[in-house]
């Protein structure tokens, strides 16, 4: 898909994104289980788990950030297509490369900033309120997820430039 099966390095890279998304899938099902357990403990057993919403929130973060590179690789992001014919083949190519360069740059800044924040959160011991769960691993996931997205954009550009991208 989108040229990722045409080159050995791209295949391997797609595999990495897939495996990371599998972790996201496990977290997704985990989210269902956590919510169900929370409701059962509170309603049926009368012993709510204090701070369970913190676990839910942190799991959701893991779901999103681990699946973002996989989703980006599969081009799920919605874009405007009304000017496609007007742009022409070359115009579309230029647009696609330009979009990825600039999006990639912003996500790169995000990845770098999230990494610094991860170290900062580790140093200062940032933690959730009720359960005192450490927050730094989440910034690490945020950083890795956006960094891999930058890599997806870079791979896309290489595939487009070498005409291996099936538009």
């Amino acid at each position: 898909m989108f040229g990722y099966q045409t080159t050995a390095w791209a295949k391997l890279f797609a595999r990495t994104n897939f495996l990371l998304a599998v972790i996201g899938g496990v977290c997704l099902i985990g989210l269902v289980v956590i919510i169900a357990v929370g409701v059962i403990m509170r309603y049926a057993l009368g012993t709510p788990i204090l701070g369970i919403n913190e676990i839910v929130q942190l799991t959701a973060l893991a779901v999103v950030m681990t699946s973002l590179p996989y989703a980006t690789q599969h081009r799920v992001h919605v874009s405007v297509d009304v000017f496609d014919t007007f742009l022409g083949r070359l115009g579309r190519k230029i647009g696609d490369i330009f979009s990825r360069l600039i999006s990639g740059y912003v996500l790169f800044l995000l990845a770098r900033r999230a990494w610094l924040k991860c170290l900062d959160a580790l140093e200062w011991g940032d933690a959730t309120n009720m359960l005192n769960l450490p927050i730094w691993p989440l910034y690490a996931i945020l950083s890795v997820g956006s960094a891999l997205c930058v890599a997806v954009f870079a791979a896309d550009i290489v595939l487009i430039l070498t005409n291996k991208d099936s538009e």
Partner: protein, 434 residues
Amino acid sequence: MTDTTVGLLGIAALFALMILRTPVAFAMLIVGFFGYGILEGMRSATALLLTESYSAVSNYSLIVVPMFILLGNISSVAGYSRGLYDAAFAWVGRFKGGLASASVIGCAAFSAVSGSSVATAVTLGKVALPEMKRVGYADSLATGSIAAGGTLGFLIPPSTGFVLYAILTEESIGRLFMAGILPGLLLMVLFMAVVWIIATLDETAGPCGEKVPFGERFKLLIAAAPLLFVIVASIGGIYLGVFSPVEASGIGAGLVLVLAVLQRKLTWASFKEAVMGTLQTSSMLYMIVIGANILNPFFSVTHIPQTLGDGLGNLNVGPYGTLAVILLAYVALGMFMDGLSMLVITIPIVFPVITGMGFDPIWFGVVAVIVIEMGMITPPVGLNVFVVRGVADGVPLTTVFKGVLPFLGAMLVALLLIIAFPQIALFIPNSMFG
């Protein structure tokens, strides 16, 4: 360069990026980031990028997004959605555009559970769109009815929009919720009328089915029982106080999953397909939320909404003239901004003006919510349209925008009716609370 100039350039850049096929989520992200950077320094902008990304992906209320998408995907691969729509088609399929109308009713019913337009559009879109496609509905009608139907999520209680309006203006949440009911139903009926008109004008848009015998219809209804059970259990659980609306999304997804496993409707391959699809759609939607969360603070620091609001306060065109100008400004802002952010910035300025002219504050809440709902489906930044496009396979964004256009007309009609007959909004709250 003044703040306003930077803001206008930002809007131009947004258009340029979208024309160059930059995904809308990233277009918002890029403009918001660089715009904030130009006005407040790159260090602040990078900080904004980080805090808003983190706060979006860890937002408790947004959990409904992956959960409802999972519910829809499992229903789909297990054949439950198909069962439900086969039954719906047997019951209403012989009417013109029957399935689209049924989906609008579905949106209204779902709105009674969900306070969010996006969640309503996502859930109904996941279930209804493939089914409408299957029986030959035009993409524009199918996606348009869902994107517009989703806006009922804000009007029919519970509603995040009314809660925010109440907090901003210190009006009663209960009264506002009650005031939303009749306008919500009115809008639902108007949407169905639009569907009927479209299906009448274009016979291929919403084709009629055969008349199905009565016995057969009940058989199909029983076949649709699993998904109906999940829906009733989720809604019932909320009203009985078993769980909150956010938890209901997780419980609903869990119930569908358990049912599908017990009924052996799920293979490993189809389960994997449902989960991976959920991950793709969810991260796409979260990216849009992140983009909007970074674009909105940029518009705030340009002071454009503020300037516009201040200008509105000093008009000299009579009460209805002022109202008309305010609503037009909301429509204009709604093209680019998220409706809730728009309310926060403008209500403190506009609300005293409106109430000072003798308009009812509860009534204005309803009017304001309808107008910000219009913003959810107007181009170029129309959150509901993006969401529906995201869950509809292979439909161009322009088709969805075209599809919602007639429904936008219906919202305008509803708005005019409510302005002409304020009782539509005020009848229930006034008879309940005096």
